[in-house]
């Protein structure tokens, strides 16, 4: 489990940030992306995948959340 931060970049897509490793990447897909259910498996541009416990969408981004690593790139 690691703390990650999710924000929106200037183009409007989700941006993933893992402070511990200074890893920054765009999120290419998120399993659930509705106001009631948000999170699930997220896929990064670099090929990595993380899992966020599905929850209500955060009221405001950026948002820090715990995530489980499913598949790290490199």
């Amino acid at each position: 489990m690691a703390n990650i931060m999710i924000r929106r970049d200037s183009k409007g897509s989700y941006q993933f940030y893992l402070p511990k490793r200074d890893l920054e990447d765009t999120i290419v897909s998120m399993e659930f992306d509705t106001p009631e259910k948000w999170g699930g498996e997220i896929k990064l541009n670099n090929g990595g995948a993380y899992y966020i416990e599905p929850q209500a969408a955060p009221a405001r981004l950026p948002y820090s959340v715990r995530a489980k690593r499913l598949d790290a790139a490199e």
């Binding site: 931060m5 924000r7 940030y17 402070p19 200074d22 890893l23 920054e24 541009n45 670099n46 405001r60 950026p62 948002y63 820090s64 790139a73 490199e74």
Partner: protein
């Protein structure tokens, strides 16, 4: 010499790698690349932020340099104690040229070196007592300082001193903030981790200090983040922003003060220049205080214009109108600069090797002068920096991460640029090779280079260096045979 093709550049990299032993070659190979604009992710072509190989000459610094030298050092009204042996602080003292206003030794301390000067007995018995005593002395001798930061050097982490406890106790005694920073040089692979640690220390010890106090804010409050005022850079930037009708409430950290930093959470927009060293704190403020941040680039009129428009986009129409007025005002002045220097610089080729933002930010400024950047690299970049760089650089140009002394020299010998821009350690090697050189860390005792005012100086300096008559006089007169013979014939 004409530009190298992709194959030639690739061959050059292979040729340079030849001298390394097998294992080192494999490692270094990943850090050198030929730029390909079609690549979306830098990860596919270049590896960065890895440990330097033992035995090669790296140009990197340490985490202490990143924290004390880069982030904390320029905060002028604080005293930054280099906690540990004397050398780390003394040999880097005042070398960075971050200008400030104030009376040094009275209310500003930027160019002074404070150190606990560790001796053998401090290593053996611990230096906590010494630190407490030092803080007491500092308070007595420099009563006008606003706070102290304790910047740990390597031994502090090795012997396990508890600087946090001392800081807490001393802060109570002197009634000013005392901030312990765990930036021992051995942490991380380069100064980059030092930036991160320093940012985290600011987050934990400084940022929230005035959350409760009131602040007369305006809708146009912005901050300049990640501008270290090298040769007056931040001042030149500030003029432009103020002309646009914005109010700059804090400068991080060039010519900055502790109070400014504490008030930063009251801003409406954080303007981020050096992304690498201060994105951490900007992210934090975005999340905690909802302040958006924006990366901008104030090198060269083209990029400045684009940045001004983008900044104005965050505000209402009055600011947008003023922004256009600023652009219009400076346009003829910049055109005059370009008209004067472009004919003298056109077509010249540059190779860069610098730190956090300049390897990509200055490309636009060179292009405004008709010059071309044919190779660039970072000392301590991460993947996201290269992501941004790939788009700025031409195809088939060289990219080198954490370049070694040997590689850099060989690349320059083969690519034969007309100008090299890097740091002081590289300067004399290239000058002796007869290649014009500018220091792109400290602006070679010149500056500012940011913003409109800076561009005029930048253009002049590049011309002064490149077209200096000395480059024609590097061969001794008796070795210059041809011109004499020609004359005789004529």
């Amino acid at each position: 010499m004409s530009a190298l093709t992709r194959e030639e550049t690739q061959a050059l990299i292979q040729e340079v790698l030849e001298v390394y032993p097998e294992k080192a070659r494999k490692d270094r190979e990943k850090h050198l690349a030929v730029n390909d604009q079609s690549i979306e992710q830098s990860k596919k072509c270049i590896t960065s932020n890895r440990k330097s190989l033992p035995g090669v000459m790296t140009i990197r610094g340490c985490a202490y340099a990143g924290s004390k030298g880069v982030v904390w050092g320029p905060i002028k009204d604080m005293i930054h104690i280099s906690h540990g042996p004397v050398g780390c602080g003394q040999y880097s003292r005042a070398g960075r040229r971050n200008y400030y206003v104030g009376t040094t030794g009275v209310n500003a301390f930027g160019t002074m070196n404070f150190t606990s000067d560790f001796q053998e007995k401090d290593i053996v018995f611990g230096g906590d007592k010494k630190l407490a005593k030092l803080i007491g002395e500092v308070e007595q001798l420099f009563p006008l300082h606003k706070g102290i930061s304790v910047q740990s050097e390597c031994p502090i982490g090795l012997i396990g001193d508890d600087i946090e406890a001392v800081s807490k106790k001393s802060a109570k005694e002197i009634n000013k903030p005392v901030i312990p920073v765990r930036c021992e040089g051995f942490r991380g692979v380069s100064q980059s981790l030092g930036h991160h640690i320093a940012n985290d220390a600011i987050r934990d010890w400084v940022l929230g200090n005035r959350d409760e106090s009131t602040f007369e804010s305006t809708p146009y409050d912005v901050t300049i983040i990640g501008d270290y005022n090298i040769g007056g850079d931040a001042w030149a930037t500030r003029t432009i922003l103020e002309d646009m009708g914005l109010r700059v409430i804090a400068q991080w950290s060039g010519d900055g003060t502790l109070a400014e930093m504490e008030n930063t959470p009251k801003a409406k927009l954080n303007l981020l220049h050096c992304y690498r060293s201060m994105n951490y704190i900007s992210r934090h403020m975005e999340e905690k205080y909802g302040i958006p941040y924006m990366e901008y680039n104030f090198f060269g009129p083209t990029k400045i214009e684009a940045s001004i428009r983008e900044i104005a986009g965050f505000f209402d129409d009055t600011i947008k109108a003023k922004a256009e007025a600023v652009i219009a005002k400076y346009k003829p002045m910049m055109q005059a600069v370009i008209d004067k220097y472009k004919p003298r610089l056109e077509g010249k080729r540059v190779m860069l090797y610098v730190g956090g933002l300049r390897p990509r930010h200055v490309i636009g400024a060179y292009e405004d002068l008709g010059m071309e950047v044919v190779g660039t690299g970072y000392e301590f970049a991460h993947g996201d920096d290269y992501d941004r760089t790939i788009k700025e650089m031409g195809n088939a140009t060289l990219l080198y991460d954490d370049v070694t002394g040997l590689e850099f020299e060989e690349f320059v010998k083969r690519v034969k640029p007309d100008l090299v821009g890097s740091g002081i350690k590289e300067k004399f090697i290239f000058q002796k090779m007869g290649i014009p050189f500018r220091q792109m860390h400290s602006w070679d005792y010149s500056g500012p280079y940011h913003s409109y005012d800076g561009f005029a100086i930048f253009a002049r300096d590049m011309d002064m260096t490149l077209n200096n008559p000395c480059w024609g006089n590097l061969t001794a007169p008796w070795l210059k045979v041809e011109p004499v013979a020609e004359k005789a014939a004529a």
